[in-house]
Subunit: 129 residues, 3 copies
């Protein structure tokens, strides 16, 4: 937790995809209160045309580098989410991976009872986490 | 927002997939209170066998045209959701894209603070949206 | 309902993927209060490297067999979720499909109004379900 789905357009080298995922994870650790090793990422690579993103009239221009990050998590508040968005945009831009205009983030909340990280146990309930 | 995942079985021409996505978006604009440009769609095309849909005993027969639409959104109520389901079924059927018996829709709710549409900002909180 | 996304690494024979999905469904019927025919599964097969799972410091070692199951559902409580995790781990292990150390489960909740299983109707609201 968080569980992070990253949807992007096919065409990046595997090393670049990994660097993108690594950068997302660094942000999780730095500003989203993820403890060490708390990394659960699923990358969906799509053909051009399988991600369609406009801009809700915000005046944002998208390219084929458009990247949608959907985060399922529990426990974070509004300020942490705002810090997440800002840090993802800044770091992915600094690394030359995703333009701030190509980054869309959506968060979904669940509860501690909604997670099992292995062994069929709900580690937030057992006290293991 | 909404963020719409469309899962379907591979085999349609790219133009047909696009038309399907366009039709879903028209419904979002017409009955689901999406403003112009509010389009965020991810299409997952699957091999046959990767989408398994039965019918919960409803007497609905599925084909390889089965399509699952998962909508993450905030703010809509029950009547808007009912209108969404009805309009999706009607329009996708009229266009010859998805049979009403092959259409499954699931909605997930989040909050205004759970969205960033670009620039690392939470546009529902900043007043931009 | 539930809508179950199963993310796994490519490389299993189609029959094995089917058996994995079947086993997940058996657990839904047995311990998660799914009625007969209540099966809505989407399988996402990924290249190695597209699923990155660590262990939040729990001392769990992952392999290429790592499998993430995301369940969108309404109505189940904590005990049913704990039974789900335990039964998924046990049954998928017994069948030689997923090691208990490779199984990650995340649940998301929605409401009865959030489902349409066909014909554009919200069957939990119409009384059909």
């Amino acid at each position: 937790m968080p569980l992070v789905r990253i949807d992007l357009v096919r065409g990046r080298a595997p090393e670049e995809v990994r660097r993108l995922a690594d950068t997302v994870q660094e942000v999780m650790l730095d500003v989203f209160a993820a403890p060490p090793g708390d990394r659960y990422q699923v990358i969906h690579q799509h053909d051009a045309g399988e991600i369609i993103a406009e801009d809700t009239g915000l005046g944002i221009e998208r390219t084929d580098g458009v990247t949608i990050i959907q985060v399922t998590q529990q426990g974070r508040g509004r300020e942490q989410k705002e810090a997440l968005y800002a840090a993802l945009a800044k770091r992915l831009d600094e690394e030359g991976l995703v333009r701030p205009t190509d980054l869309i983030v959506s968060v979904v909340r669940n509860e501690p009872e909604d997670w099992s990280f292995g062994h069929g146990r709900a580690q937030f309930l057992t006290g293991e986490l």
